[in-house]
Amino acid sequence: MTHKPDESDKSGKKPRTEKPISFGLDSFGDIPTDDTGQLMTYAGAIRQVVKEAVLADKLGIDVIALGEHHRSDFSISSPETVLAGIATRTKNIKLASGVTVLSSDDPVRVFERFATLDALSNGRAQIILGRGSFTESFPLFGYELRDYEVLFEEKVQLMAEILKEKPVTWTGTTRAPLAGAEIYPRTESGRIHTSIGVGGSPESVIRAARYGFPLMLAVIGGSPERFVPYVELYKQAGAQFGTPTDEIGLHSPGFIADTDEEAVETAWPAHKINFDRIGHSRGWPPLKREHFDEEVAKYSLHIGSPETVAQKMAKTIRTLGITRFDLVYGGGPMPAKARLHMIELYATKVIPRIRELLAEDDKPGKKAAR
């Protein structure tokens, strides 16, 4: 392995038990197939996500995060509207975006929508801000790709101000200035939980620390271990800026079925369709089975039986010392039934097993082995 997780030792790590790890699900609203093998409609796909979130809430999963996309393969372009629907039918589950593409949105509107969601859900709204890995929203909303950097930088800065829920005074180049603007509705808690999602860019990690936002690492390829130095970068940057850095989460794709074989055979065709569609616009050649198998075996695709996935997730959690893991599920046209079953296995088998594995590590005498 390229990185030994020795950083956690230098940084005077706290025992993980101090903050319970939260486990989430993350969907982009991929279009599933129904019992007859037909692709659902976009509307059907959205209702399916609501159904899944209701199940997840009943089974005690901590978070449902919904991504924002503006392309034909995904049904969710307005996550907070779907989350609002979920809000009124659930009790405990946190309702997050994953991510809100801030560069092509208006921070004032973002706050208004999530504060509304927060009201409907009795304080369960969460925002994950990001640049997004797609660019469709730029032409759609009239933004220039070449302004990518400045749009995100300015809007994160404004968002950080708005989240304080005090009158906002701001000037910049990417939207109209605000002079002592009051933005409503105020939340009951006074703060919407807001993180920044980061891919592999070191600058984004430093930005998250600069504004004191929790970090959500998107690990969609390669080994999770390679993010160990990013965690260290986040902590050291936070130490320089005097901001808190104790909340670090990760989102990564996966799929769970009763056996390894069933999981892999269900995920592969859907994953391939998903990958090839996206790859086509980026110039990646079609995905080969051996490369998929390699990602499953060695890297960041958390696909397999409950035991396989639990072991893999526990390893990632240990190595990175994270406090949250959102599993991105249902990529590509997957049977809706398989998705529901996966959520059941995640809640009833995988999560308890991970907690057990992590508790074992914390027993005296085991620590040195970590």
Partner: protein, 212 residues
């Protein structure tokens, strides 16, 4: 200077530049790395992610070594200080990525490869294309000592055989089997839209992908 380690300069301190710096430090190179602005802006990143590498301005970094890797967004190639690169061995690791670079007619020319466009801009015939086809995460994960079973390959394309061999030696030092695929123009095979783009495979398989 009594230091007889080899020196390497990397322009671009983003995802790819940092990984190349990590690999080169590990291979025993003295590494200079620069972003678009001053050294201060990338100092913490370099210190934490690629300890041992030296953060510098682009101009200073270029003066420190004879080999310079271009790891900045291709769309910004005209900001490269070309006068300073005149006598250097320059390695082009850049790809045309419309989502970052925007739609660019000069870079999407179906006849020439993007490396030829960069070579012509720099006016430097020693430009070699390498390290462009593998994702940065795989570069970090897959680097292995020479002779390791299942070692992955990096393609090298350039017009000058001596320079190609120097780059091949660097590829090997950084943890990959070099595969010489021909003149700079052959680097077209490695660009987005071609089978070798994204390839994280051994030399035999990569050879098939580029049609050798």
């Amino acid at each position: 200077m009594p230091d007889n380690r080899k020196a390497l300069t990397i322009l671009g301190a983003g995802k790819l530049g940092i990984v190349l710096a990590q690999l080169a430090v590990r291979a025993g190179y003295v590494v200079y790395i620069a972003g678009s602005a001053g050294a201060e802006k990338i100092r913490l990143t370099v210190q934490v992610l690629a300890p041992g590498a030296i953060a510098a301005t682009a101009d200073d970094a270029i003066r420190q070594s004879d080999i310079v890797i271009l790891a900045l967004p291709l769309g910004k190639y005209r900001t490269i200080p070309k006068e300073l690169l005149a006598d250097k061995l320059v390695i082009d690791a850049m790809n045309y990525w419309w989502e970052v670079d925007g739609e660019r007619d000069d870079l999407a020319n179906p006849q020439s490869s993007s490396s030829e466009v960069v070579r012509d801009y720099l006016g430097n015939p020693r430009l070699v294309k390498a390290f462009s086809h593998m994702g940065y995460h795989h570069l970090l994960d897959e680097a292995k000592p020479s002779g390791s079973p299942g070692r992955k390959a990096i393609a090298v394309a350039g017009d000058n055989q001596t320079d190609n061999e120097s780059v091949a030696a660097l590829v090997n030092d950084l943890g990959f089997d070099p595969l010489l695929i021909g003149p700079l123009h052959a680097g077209k095979q490695l660009e987005p839209g071609h089978e070798a783009f994204g390839a994280n495979v051994d030399a035999g398989t990569l050879r098939q992908y580029v049609g050798l």
